[in-house]
């Protein structure tokens, strides 16, 4: 360690430069993360809204104990616990089918799960409103075609929120569990078969106990995702008068009379819940790693499903249909008709909704804004993330731990809370009302995505590759540029698109920060939808989804491979 450090900083010229880069990285990160938090803290002690005359008060913190907020907190916890349990069970089931059984459609299933992973939550929610709201397709079909009146779907409910969230979060659980599942030494399970245990006993007594910590970690992550989920409760909760902390915070801020101070204290309280969960999850991951493959002899013997094959096929088909196919069909249908009717034979078909996208200057501007924020912002986010990963995993100059802690902080802070922080920072920052505030906010919010993606690869890179470059006479900067950067390129590419897509579909932070001139696509879609203009909202969603999916299919192939 100290040897590596002296090599870095003995060389006068590059040592100085690296120090300067580290200093800049540190300051930028600190600025991006601390600004919104400090602003929130400040705001939570103010009576007025950002920019308004205001005085110091304790009231916002006292109001956290009010019946309304406590009720919302309980609802949020209930929704999130149920969501995380079902998502983890679903994700674990799919992982097991793909990596441990002789399920026939593994590739298609992984591809479908990947698709729904990238299917934006707010579009999914919208589709489900079209499908299962009281006047939606399902109820109409049940009622008019089959005359069934006793069965009524109401998506505007706690159950509706949970249903959409589970559909939305299962892919996440799948992708967090598949790593540990793939790397688990399968001879541990084979030794169980050889000992005479049947598949069910092997799952119960060997696979599950060995996977317990990855499962627990997935449970916590899904819980956090669900607590910070904004789009789904906003679209189906607000109309049904079911509020979660995230939507409560939004309502407090966006409707008069605004109570931005209480929103700030709610946001901080929310961050405490999610932050603690993340800390706990990190602790688990650090302490207990599942036993992994030890060298040679690694093979997986797929478990024969036998008569259960049909059940497995059915469940998977159901999941894929519910999370992607049927919502997508509903959107396509709605985007192609003049007035909403459930029966396609009574519908008046039209291109009007698509044409309207091009006729609306606001929407065109939203396209450009999104392109600037997502396309350009992702460059900034990735650059910062790469520098941080490099400093925290490799160079480790003084202060790298602080940098690491700062950069992983947003993991525990919901998007809407960071958005609110930047809203409050209006007090000190002259960027409110520009696209820059969105870029700053997104870079901060998704910084851990970048540092984790790049960091995982940096850890894998054999240090000797770089050392060989030093020995050959290249200094640190030269070896970084000539050896490391080319080796990191695939990771950087997928990191870029991960960020691009995250920025592209972010709605929670944008909902608080946009102005007429800085509207982005996700907000436009939501606005059309809120104005009961389902047709245009669907058309715009489809265009946006096609763009996202095309990007993902062309460049993000890697994470979709079995």
């Amino acid at each position: 360690m100290s040897g590596a450090r002296s090599l870095a900083f003995n060389n006068q010229r590059s040592g100085w430069l690296i120090q300067a880069i580290f200093g800049t990285t540190f300051l930028v990160t600190a600025f991006l993360i601390i600004t919104p938090l400090a602003a929130l803290l400040h705001g939570s002690f103010q009576t007025g809204s950002p920019g308004m005359p205001t005085v110091f008060t304790w009231k916002n913190w006292a109001d956290l104990g009010s019946g309304n907020i406590i009720h919302t907190l309980l609802i949020t916890c209930f929704i999130s616990v149920v969501t995380s349990v079902f998502s983890t069970i679903g994700g674990a089931g799919l992982t097991w089918l793909v990596y441990r059984s002789d399920f026939r459609f593994k590739r298609s299933l992984v591809a479908a799960v990947g698709l729904s992973f990238f299917f934006p939550g707010f579009i999914l929610a919208m589709a489900w409103v079209i499908l299962a709201s009281p006047g939606g397709i399902f109820n109409d079909v049940l009622d008019e075609l089959f005359g069934i009146e006793w069965l009524q779907f109401d998506i505007y409910s706690v159950g509706g929120i949970i249903w959409i969230q589970v559909l939305h979060i299962i892919p996440f659980a799948f992708f967090t569990l598949r790593g540990p599942m793939i790397s688990m030494d399968s001879s541990l399970e084979e030794a169980g078969y050889i000992s005479g245990a049947n598949p069910w006993a092997v799952v119960r007594r060997i696979t599950l106990p060995l996977m317990i910590f990855p499962l627990l970690s997935s449970l916590l992550l899904c819980f956090v995702l669900s607590v910070e989920q904004f789009a789904i409760p906003a679209m189906v909760g607000i109309p049904g008068h079911v509020n979660t902390l995230a939507t409560e915070l939004y309502l407090l801020t966006s409707f008069s009379p605004p109570n931005t101070g209480l929103a700030a204290s709610v946001g901080l309280a929310m961050s405490a819940v999610t932050g603690l969960s993340i800390l706990f999850q990190r602790q688990i991951i650090r302490r207990h790693n599942a036993p992994t493959v030890t060298g040679r002899g690694y093979r997986v013997r797929p478990m024969t499903l036998g008569p259960w094959r049909a059940v497995a096929n059915g469940v998977c088909l159901f999941y894929v249909a519910m999370s992607f196919i049927i919502p997508a069909l509903a959107l396509i249908y709605t985007s192609g008709i003049k007035f909403f009717v459930a029966n396609p034979f009574e519908a008046a078909w039209t291109w009007r909704n698509y044409l309207q996208i091009w006729d609306s200057p606001g929407t065109i501007r939203a396209f450009w804004n999104t392109l600037v924020v997502a396309g350009g912002g992702a460059v900034l986010g990735l650059t910062l993330g790469t520098l941080i990963a490099w400093f925290t995993h490799r160079l480790r100059p003084r202060g790298y731990r602080v940098l690491d802690a700062l950069a992983s902080l947003p993991f525990g802070i919901p998007g809407i809370v960071i958005g609110l922080g930047f809203l409050w920072s209006y007090v000190y920052l002259p960027i409110y009302g520009t696209l820059l505030v969105l870029v700053f906010c997104y870079v901060a919010r998704f910084l851990p995505y970048a540092t984790e993606t790049v960091g995982a690869q940096v850890v894998q890179l054999d240090k000797a590759l770089e050392e060989a470059a030093w020995v050959s006479g290249a200094n640190r900067l030269a070896s970084f540029r000539r050896i490391i950067l080319p080796l990191l390129r695939p990771t950087l590419q997928s990191g870029y698109f991960l960020l691009f897509i995250a920025y592209f579909r972010e709605i929670a932070a944008a909902a608080l920060l946009y102005t007429a001139s800085t509207q982005v696509l996700s907000i436009s879609i939501w606005a059309f939808f809120e104005n009961a203009n389902w047709g245009v909202a669907s058309a715009l969603s489809i265009v946006a989804t096609v763009i996202t999916v095309t990007l993902m299919a062309t460049v993000m192939r890697a994470p979709l491979k079995v």
């Binding site: 541990l188 169980g192 078969y193 049947n198 060997i206 040679r296 002899g297 093979r299």
Partner: protein, 353 residues
């Protein structure tokens, strides 16, 4: 009884990895599968265990058919009465040593008292009597290996399967454990298949050795037979060090090399024409050169290299056409003129490959 394998074929992506293998293993016999890396040893073993499903063939364990491609019989691994020691040992980290070994009995729903007794006996057998409650995470490689063996024998399986069980141990422990496995197997009298690519292990442990190459059997026989009378050059080289001499075999079964030296063998030659004579280093006798005409089974040469190996010397002797290795306790200086001689019973002609 024992194990019977007929016409076994296993393919990966259409490429046969095990290619029509037939063999029988008698009750209580230990047979090693020996061959270079990638020749299909592990695959064969896993087919017998039921961890892979072959494309065709028939496998019977203890007289019971556990796989038959023709009649569609596939017995799941957990219904085959087998014990297996994995190369990685596969000790379950979430169970104690006792629970690891007890597992095969627990899934057979044996009474608690019986389990206690039999696990105790199995652990005694492998020399881990005091390790009952030890967490399986706190074991050395050698101890893990013993737990794996105890777990494989605790339910008294009909066959034992080992996949390179010693390859993760250091050299000294390997020698000791090899002897212990041999003794254990003799005591239990259980049919055993032992996969290895270490010739010493195969030669010292086995009742018979099965030499594999590219998914096929090259030779199956006792260690002595395989060592002394390999079927072909591949087998000769897999088992022990080998000296080869290029010769031409005449109609009467005698051979000459181009320098005029003659080789006689006690075994039937594979036919006339170009061949190679195989003589093991320990079967070549080295002596001072008496001068004059030498007669058959004698070669003149010069000592090129002498290595003192402890109880004996290893020489490299340069003859006119080859430089064989020779083991002998007699002492000769480098550059000394010597004569190498051998018995007809220690010389065998193999076809050139």
């Amino acid at each position: 009884m024992g194990i019977s394998v007929k016409g076994l074929v296993k393919q990966y992506a259409g490429k046969p990895v095990v290619d029509h293998i037939d063999f029988e293993i008698a009750d209580g016999e230990l047979v090693s599968l020996l061959g270079p890396s990638g020749c299909g040893k592990t695959t064969t073993l896993r087919c017998i265990a039921g961890l892979e499903t072959p494309e065709s063939g028939r496998i019977a364990i203890d007289g019971e058919v556990v796989f038959d491609a023709d009649s569609g019989v596939v017995v799941e691994p957990y219904h085959r009465n087998i014990g297996m020691v994995f190369q990685s040992y596969a000790i379950w980290p979430h169970m104690t040593v006792f629970e690891n070994v007890a597992f095969p009995l627990r899934v057979r729903r044996m009474a608690a008292a019986d389990i206690e007794r039999r696990v105790g006996r199995a652990l005694e057998r492998v020399g881990l009597g005091a390790f009952h409650d030890r967490s399986s995470q706190q074991l050395s490689g050698g101890q893990q290996q013993r737990v794996a063996v105890a777990r494989a024998i605790v339910h008294e399986p009909a066959v034992l399967l080992f996949d390179e069980p010693l390859s993760n141990l250091d050299a000294r422990l390997r020698d000791q454990t090899r002897a212990e496995i041999r003794q254990l197997q003799r005591e239990l009298r259980v049919s055993t298949i032992y996969v290895t690519h270490d010739q010493t292990e195969a030669l010292s442990l086995s009742d018979r050795i099965l030499v594999m190459h590219d998914g096929r059997i090259r030779q199956l026989g006792t260690p002595e037979a395989i060592y002394a009378r390999p079927n072909d050059m591949f087998v000769a080289e897999v088992v022990g060090a080998a000296n080869f001499f290029d010769v031409t075999v005449d109609d009467r079964g005698a051979a000459t090399d181009t320098s005029g030296a003659t080789f006689h063998t006690a075994f039937a030659p594979p036919g006339s024409g170009p061949a190679r004579a195989l003589i093991r280093p320990d079967k070549l006798l080295i002596g001072p050169d008496p001068g004059g005409d030498l007669g058959p089974n004698r070669l003149r040469g010069t000592v090129r290299q002498r290595l003192f190996m402890g109880g004996y010397y290893e020489y490299v002797v340069e003859t006119r056409l080859a430089s064989p290795r020779v083991l002998s306790s007699a002492e000769f200086a480098e550059k000394a003129q010597v004569v190498l001689s051998f018995d007809s019973g220690d010389c065998i002609f193999l076809l050139k490959e």
